[in-house]
Symmetry: C2
Subunit: 526 residues, 2 copies
Amino acid sequence: MTKHRCLSQCLLWILFPPSFVYTLSTNHPNVVIFYADDLGYGDIEPYGHPTSSTPNLRRLAADGLVLTQFYSAAAVCSPSRAALLTGRYQMRSGIYPGIINVKRPGGLPLNEVTIAEMLKPEGYKSAAIGKWHLGLGNNSMYLPPSHGFDVSLGLPASPAQCRCSICFYPNVTCHSAPCHSDEYTPCALFNGTKIVEQPVDLLTLDEKYVAEGRHFIRENVKSETPFFLYYASHHTHQPQYAGKETSGTSLRGRFGDSLAALDWEVGQIYQELEENGILDDTFFVFSSDNGPSLSLNTFGGNAGPMKCGKGTTYEGGMRVPAIIHWPGRITPGRSFEFSSTLDILPTIASITKAKLPAVTLDGYDMSPFLFDGMHSVRESFFYYPPNVNTEYKSYAVRYKQYKAVFYTQGSRLSNRMNKDVDCRGSTQRTYHNPPMMFDLEQDPSENYNLSTKHSPEKDIVEMIIQMRADFDARMVFAQSETRKPKDDSLMPCCNRGCIPFPSCCHCIGNTSWKTPTLLDSDEKGF
Amino acid sequence: MTKHRCLSQCLLWILFPPSFVYTLSTNHPNVVIFYADDLGYGDIEPYGHPTSSTPNLRRLAADGLVLTQFYSAAAVCSPSRAALLTGRYQMRSGIYPGIINVKRPGGLPLNEVTIAEMLKPEGYKSAAIGKWHLGLGNNSMYLPPSHGFDVSLGLPASPAQCRCSICFYPNVTCHSAPCHSDEYTPCALFNGTKIVEQPVDLLTLDEKYVAEGRHFIRENVKSETPFFLYYASHHTHQPQYAGKETSGTSLRGRFGDSLAALDWEVGQIYQELEENGILDDTFFVFSSDNGPSLSLNTFGGNAGPMKCGKGTTYEGGMRVPAIIHWPGRITPGRSFEFSSTLDILPTIASITKAKLPAVTLDGYDMSPFLFDGMHSVRESFFYYPPNVNTEYKSYAVRYKQYKAVFYTQGSRLSNRMNKDVDCRGSTQRTYHNPPMMFDLEQDPSENYNLSTKHSPEKDIVEMIIQMRADFDARMVFAQSETRKPKDDSLMPCCNRGCIPFPSCCHCIGNTSWKTPTLLDSDEKGF
């Protein structure tokens, strides 16, 4: 540290000691979950990518806790999100197999209790911004307003499920095929259950999200209301896009520009918390829904040292970056403790004193290792594949440092040309008996199978086999919400009944909803 | 930053402002090169390994510059070290093909100018501690004293080239086969050209090295002599070993213990610099000689997102971690600037005003990007394989962000069972015409070959083809030093002439040389 930097920081402490900063009740900290899309384990600076530039995530990591053994409950979008918001494996809520298509009438069942609903009795206001992907349904019945969110602005799915054209400022067209197809209506931006822009302008979408998020924070601070902000960025899912601030700014090409946009969004939300003096009163979680979409080549992400990517139950599919930030409560650093997105809901319940939903939960309170220097309560984790069904159930089990692998299968999302043939979509489901065994603390890349006849881990294998049998036997599969029959009329349209559908769905300039303006400070180039 | 931490740091500044700290002439900063062995790109905390714990390297990285696009000049030990110390590709000094075997009479030619020799006219004292691996020769003619080092303590090669037995405190035997063979004499520890211990006790070897290194620093500070310390650790090469401080301490098993020992050594040297108030006057470089030895499974390292490992010209073989530390002169952070171990000698010449050796150099002064916020002068780098010869020459060329790959070949050092068959030892040399092309800034893992007929990079390919032809045509191969005929009598023996050779070479308790005692402060558990 230089002398000047030291003195200026201390001066700040003298002029504005923490006790004078506006504080909320310590029992009701604010909660921000910033959720990235298809961001791989190795994609950001704190996880070692050599050319990613993510200054805002770097700062979050420097002042927060970087988790290195953190798992998403699924290897694709919709089930990951269902699990995060409910603290339950996706099969319990019917968000399997695969993802939700807006043409199908299913969605996250209304009797599922989300974090937003859990926090409501404690006086929290909640907002869902960005990608939803937990169903649209008849009359937008599955959108965030039905799940406890007071404010919401976003797309029902990723822009890959709608038509778009310009993805990069000023006029670079989108690169990925679904964006150009006629299969979907033009992208519809929903405010609550109402379409406010169609097709959405991707070049200004992040600005709208950020403005809404910042406005939501400010309003709650003004009214001294604790809040939960669920900010689910579209970045870095395909089609990547980037507005004026970040287009063409990165060494990593278009993926890098999308990553820069993600980082900019994080920075904007962080800045709003900082300007309102509530960083110390906010439990901030950053994570990703699943591993990188390697099939997109340089338009996909990077799993770092992890094997394969999105769509697989290898580490590259389900181990994700996670940064937890709460200055004064969480000691900055890195943690090797083993945890999952399933643990977020119970942890939030613990720190807000909210009542846990009266259903089977799959998560554990992370407080012991986050706040008390103890070990994680979680000892096991079950890897369910995107095509999970009641016949095969879990593909692998992690118990402490050991991963026992019963089934492997490649995924078309992890590249048909992958040099590691295990990852390829053409690699069919394979049963391993005895299961393959990996020590993930010594071998995170799943290179060295320990499961030999004379392995000293034999007892552990037997124990895990039993553990899996017990857990899978008790797993209750709800009716699938993702495979209900397609119905084109469900596609979102602000101009319902127009001809020719779906391309007629246009409503640019809908004036019934106004984007909150960004603060002046945004123009200072933060 | 917490208030307390801030205040205590400022108090230190008030009590001991930098101007009162002992300083050397700014033209003659001290130089420390800390060189790890077979440490992969992804092995340490600052480069994203999920379970490595390297607190001293973390601190070095936090206060230093982490280079993400830094290359060793070779993919195996001896040539890497020759290139580092001379600033020249290894073929120029004859350190090819492969590595130096102590039974062969070759070594780094005495007319080569090392960093130590370059600094001598400027009044520097130099020490070489640890692994040498640049030849032993008749009468120890190639050891560090013949190459400008005033002080030296170390083994002629890695402990894999000698017999040993106990590798982990208190009594765990070494795991790797060469350690148990009768091919070599028991490990000989040299002080200068004299054997002071044979077989060496690996459990206390690091303590001896550290004590010697700290003593060297202290003595030079006392006499106000600028110094160059070349500390070439044996860690994390096989056979891994660890003494009392680090054995059994890591999540990564025996490799992790060896890594912890490496980190401990870094911390000890750092502490000596700190205690003598000369951190600000010391240009400290941390790096590794080549990528991880994946053939050793969990006893080998991890290349992170890089392809393959040791012995190959893929990124995993030659891109290595590098941290440059010089408080007050180098702004902490990460740098994407492209550089190499070849650049270390010219950079040291630049900052010490030493005269460059009057020979063909392959390095560039790194000062523009280290000190002046400019780009690296280096635009290209040539990847020569361990089995380089005058017929095939360079296998690949990096030009700016592009890597053009003309030849690929696996290596037995990168695992015969590697899931990526390109890495395996059984994968023979393959010629690529047109060369494969990778954008390493977008695709550091070398997954996506850009070289198609319609590639926009076609002009660049043509330019690189020409650049390679020109450079290879001008490359002068010295006579090989590594393939001179074996002579068992060259094996180091403190009891020369004894019977039965080589196992009779024993001299434990040689009292003619005394290990400097560690300072009291070492016992405080730093």
